[in-house]
Subunit: 214 residues, 2 copies
């Protein structure tokens, strides 16, 4: 039986190996796409033996699913840290939207989109991803509510947060092949004003009952 002193370093080595494999997987997906990402290429890139790689992640589906889970969690921690450093005040919402927009145009979004699209026509990957997609969606929603510091029990807040995330997903796709940053910045400039109005208790969106006749 290993002693406590040998067991801990081995666990640490395992975790470090796993982390290297998962980072290399996302890098591969970004550089080569789903079809260009093979477990062999990932192991080589991570500097991990094929045996160790198969020990931790026996299939490509297991590897890519673990990679997106791991990096989504890490990205959430980073977003919380970045948001904690933001000044309070009316400009905070703008900065939070900018942080989220950066996440939806960054490498993790690109890697996830490669998987989402591939999973459409790959039954094994699809089975692995559908529960993950639901979980990531819920966590992203909760994170956004937290970063914006809003109360979801208020009418309209949940819908405004959802629309923001769906809009950002659309903007992420629009940025895939060409630099869409100028158009995105202008569009988000307007969206931030709308979102502020939707999230402010005394300046909510117009409802059918309150709309002026026209």
């Amino acid at each position: 039986m290993p002693t406590a002193s040998t067991r801990v370093p081995q666990q640490e080595r395992s975790r470090a190996t796993q982390a290297r494999l998962l980072e290399a997987t996302v890098e591969c997906l970004v550089e080569h796409g789903w079809s260009g990402t093979t477990t062999t290429v990932v192991a080589a890139r991570a500097g991990v033996s094929r045996g160790a790689q198969l020990h931790h992640y026996p299939t490509k589906a297991a590897l890519v699913t673990a990679a997106v889970t791991h990096l989504t969690e890490r990205r959430a921690v980073e977003l919380r840290t970045e948001a904690a450093a933001l000044p309070a005040g009316p400009r905070r919402l703008d900065r939070v939207v900018d942080l989220l927009a950066a996440a939806f145009t960054g490498p993790l979004f690109v890697a996830a989109l490669e998987l989402w699209v591939a999973a459409r026509t790959d039954a094994e990957l699809r089975d692995a991803l559908v529960p993950l997609e639901a979980r990531v969606g819920r966590e992203m929603h909760r994170l956004t509510v937290e970063l914006l510091g809003v109360d979801e029990r208020r009418p309209g807040v949940r819908e405004a947060v959802q629309a923001t995330l769906d809009l950002l997903r659309g903007l992420g796709v629009a940025n895939l092949l060409s630099d869409d940053s100028a158009r995105r910045a202008a569009l988000l400039h307007t969206w931030k004003r709308q979102l502020a109005a939707l999230l402010t208790p005394d300046a909510g969106p117009p409802t059918p009952g309150s709309a002026r006749p026209h």
Copy 2:
């Protein structure tokens, strides 16, 4: 030299062959994805000889680009026809958004997304798609302005139309792996009210100058 009477039927046959190839291409992309779509599979599905297929579309990039162009144009005609049948009045905007949402969750969107994602890591396809993406984006914007019957010279209208299309693109991606229609319907219900307010001259979005202090 062919006479006028033989030339016309041959042109018609060519057009029919092309149309069959382009429909089969989109069907293949939807069913098998980018990597499962080969020119051989498309020719077989269309019932067109390999020679005829190569004559019309010598490369896979040429075939898929032509397919998305052709079907986007056809879809635009269909959307105009469907929109022309809509009753005037306050519910028209809701129905136009529903038509657009159906387009962004339909087979053509799925096929286009396969290409957009594949083009990220395929230089030949990327070169072919970047100009097409810009053109499709502009035409979709113009079509939406036309279907909504709004005047883009009014402040805020252009941004509201853009946000609607980016939101719908995001909703299209959210629908890739699982049926997102219930969540989408609820979200669009709210969005339609916001969009109506943004597009109505006397009930525009709040601007920084008009926002109440808080």
